[in-house]
Subunit: 359 residues, 3 copies
């Protein structure tokens, strides 16, 4: 399972730090040039390395904190970039964008990242193995999330629902999903640790504690600023480029917060550490579906711009299909390049249909 | 697999016999006080121990009859309480209530009982094992039933159907399901007995034959009377309490006939006899889906109040989701507390959406 | 795995050659008697042995060509009869018939043939084994095809689609599926041959090369003529017999091109060579879903009678259900008579609902 190269950490995250140059570009474009398309593109590009830095800083803290607290830190801050973007979007009243970007993140992690990992790893290695048990537990969690997506959507679609009913159903489903996410954390970090490929074992911290904390806070702050730019420039950019709104939400906004994480999953696959790659792809999907999305339902209620848990037919069907395919594929604990290519094919099929929705 | 305690039988069914006190209460409330809500609640509570007694008497007869005939008796009388209630509801023209209570029974057994068994057993034991083969055969049967639910509903929904077409499709599907149920009996009791955890092995009969028969008949008779009370008081109770009709049908009427069986499944899980717990939960679900529901289609036709096999969108989707989740969860032959909690979460998610339907 | 009987080849395809007598009958009925129903029935019956001869000739060529090129030949010419029929139907503008017959072919192979093989093989042998890995790879391919069926249909159903959008989505999905089919060929024939039960090993060619080529060409030519008769007589026959159009397309037109192949799958099951039977049933389904159907999309565009990749709700749901059931059933690598009967039951349930559609 371990490969010949020395320490794992340096290879873990590809250096995307040169993309940080887009921070000042976005600022200039927004404050001086007033070019929305340029603001949108450069703030998107700037968020990619910032999300990477947040991930790196979280890892550093996690290594120092030991396996359990470290696992908890990773599970909590793993999608902090998405949370910041989603929060600002909710505040701006862009509830549908938030929903689409959450679904896009789930699909991106589950289909695109997993597919790329299987493909790239499978080209280098004939067959790669991972824990079918661990993948099965993630698959169960995702199927729960699918129930949580399907039932409210079905209710709104078939019944003459009232706003109150919609709110009660949304909050109940969101509450159940959060409880089940926390339960899964207890399961993986406390009661059944032995079932999961442990991630941090041999790693050594590279940064002193204060640096990790500083990077975490600074990067989160700049992500916040970039996300402001992004939210402000979203509408005019979509209009200027004549793109489908749903497509931008699902495939652009959704990906930028995950790009760094995505890249590291593929790198782990290349090093034949499929359990880690799987953990990133599946873990990130379940975190968004069971924690982030329900959390935003409660946060949005708290700040007076309630978002319900009712997703569109496309969104529900796309996640359901992706979950069933990945469940069936991962049941044997093997992967190869064909499965990778198949998942990428599914991503294209889902994408092309969504490209035209809402144009 | 075997635990330290002595004989299994005394522990098998929890004593709910004190609930029998609700038999006279229901009678008094119906005949003297004319209080529909009280009649409804007390007749519901009275049916619980009666269903338990029917189960116990069937078990006693089954032990004497040997494994094969005994298995057949269990398979035939296992849901006799539900059959009596359903028969009276059909006679009263309450066809939609029957359908909802059948779906509710399937969901209750498949999600609630299995979830409670996994959870309670998983708290006491780190990991419980059961036959993945046996669970897989049940999962296949349930998927068949799902096809039988989906296709007629889809037909009615998409086509301009006529009453004759609806009847032919319903009878064909019902006929196919019954044949497949009988075939599964032949499979489990005759041709492939070795695949299934045998249940009655070491048990000894506690009751003489005449007592078992007497209890069976007497309990069935009283269940009939209580069910009459229940059917009569259903409408006014739902109106008086302002409850959703579908909710009452799916979650109240459906549960009372199964409560005793449910309790014994959880007790088996506590004793680490997961194969028996699984057999009760899965077996009861498949029996309702493949035998009871289709049987009522034919019975209803015979008594001139035909019920078709067309279920609502909610009912079809809820059973489909539950079946897929349980299929994926049970494929590895392991269970733990997290899976139990997840199934209970699914039950709440299904329940909250259905709570508001049809208010 | 090998049974006592001598060489496999003579037993491989049941002799249906006496049905060739229907070739002149169809010709006479069409050219002289002008009896559409007789033309339809006799051309259907004539195609069955012709498809068998094409299969036999392809096998003969495949044996001479060696495992890889042979596998490629089989994969390419395996459904040449369906391709000819579909081409003529597209040319006649009968696009809906083509779609229905493609779906019917998938269902026929996946549910009817697999069910018959399981049942017949399971009656003779208590339990039959096959490679769960190989079945799982086919199941993944079919789930891909399901995505390709679901998403365009959902798009057309939910969005206000334009003809251009429909065309782009259809061509993209079709292109992705063809690429994935070719990738699966590379996987099974080049990079991962060891995972698949090889079929041709000990067989010896019976026919000289020139005979195999001659039979292939002649049979394909006559299939073309018979298909012309069939296409011309389809409309009047449906009208004359008062049958549901969808039913005829799905269950009659779909079966004739596969009947010979179907029979040989069942024969392999009888000889306990389940890997070959599975390969025929699954392989044929995936070939139709991932190669034939998308190919017709491109061909139809080339000849100026474009067929899109948008299937009806029934068709999509039926294939989805069938794929999920077969995926769950085949995950353990075992089959028995009950699973066979269950699949046949599913086929009847799908059939009876479709019988009335579009009458």
């Amino acid at each position: 399972m371990a490969d010949g190269d020395n320490g794992g950490a340096p290879m873990r995250r590809p250096s995307l730090n040169w993309l940080l140059v887009f921070i000042p570009i976005a600022a200039v474009a927004d404050l001086l040039v007033h070019q929305p398309v340029l603001v949108f593109v450069s703030s998107c590009l700037a968020i990619v390395p910032l999300a990477g830095l947040i991930g790196k800083a979280t890892d550093e803290l996690a290594i120092r904190a030991g396996a359990r607290v470290g696992g908890l830190l990773n599970a909590t801050f793993g999608n902090v970039t998405e949370l910041i973007i989603a929060f600002l979007l909710v505040q701006a009243g862009e509830v549908e964008v938030v929903k689409a970007s959450l679904i896009g993140s789930i699909l991106g992690n589950l289909v695109l990242v997993l597919g790329a990992s299987y493909l790239v790893g499978g080209i280098r290695f004939k067959e790669q193995r991972y824990s079918a048990r661990s993948a099965g537990i993630h698959a169960s969690s995702l199927l729960l999330a699918v129930s949580g997506l399907v039932m409210p959507a079905l209710f709104v679609w078939l019944a003459n629902d009232t706003a109150v009913q919609r709110e009660v159903i949304s909050l109940t489903v969101a509450g159940v999903l959060i409880v089940l996410y926390l339960a899964a954390l207890v399961f993986t970090l406390i009661t059944h640790t032995h079932l999961f490929g442990v991630r941090q074992t041999e790693e050594k911290a590279e940064w002193p504690m204060w640096l990790a904390l500083l990077v975490l806070l600074a990067a989160a702050l700049v992500v916040g600023i970039m996300s402001e730019f992004l939210v402000d420039s979203l509408e005019p950019t979509v209009a200027a480029l004549g793109l489908s709104r749903v497509f931008v939400d699902l495939f652009v906004v959704a990906i930028i917060g995950n790009a760094a994480e995505h890249a590291s999953a593929v790198l782990f696959a290349l090093r034949n550490q499929m359990d880690v790659a799987i953990e990133i792809a599946f873990g990130s999907s379940t975190q968004i579906a069971l924690l982030l999305a329900p959390l935003i339902v409660f946060i949005s209620l708290a700040i007076g711009r309630p978002m319900d848990f009712v997703f569109s037919g496309y969104e529900v069907v796309a996640v359901t299909l992706a979950t069933i395919i990945v469940s069936v594929m991962s049941r044997d604990g093997h992967s190869n390049w064909l499965e990778g290519l198949q998942l990428l094919g599914v991503y294209i099929i889902l994408g092309v249909s969504l490209f035209y929705v809402g144009t």
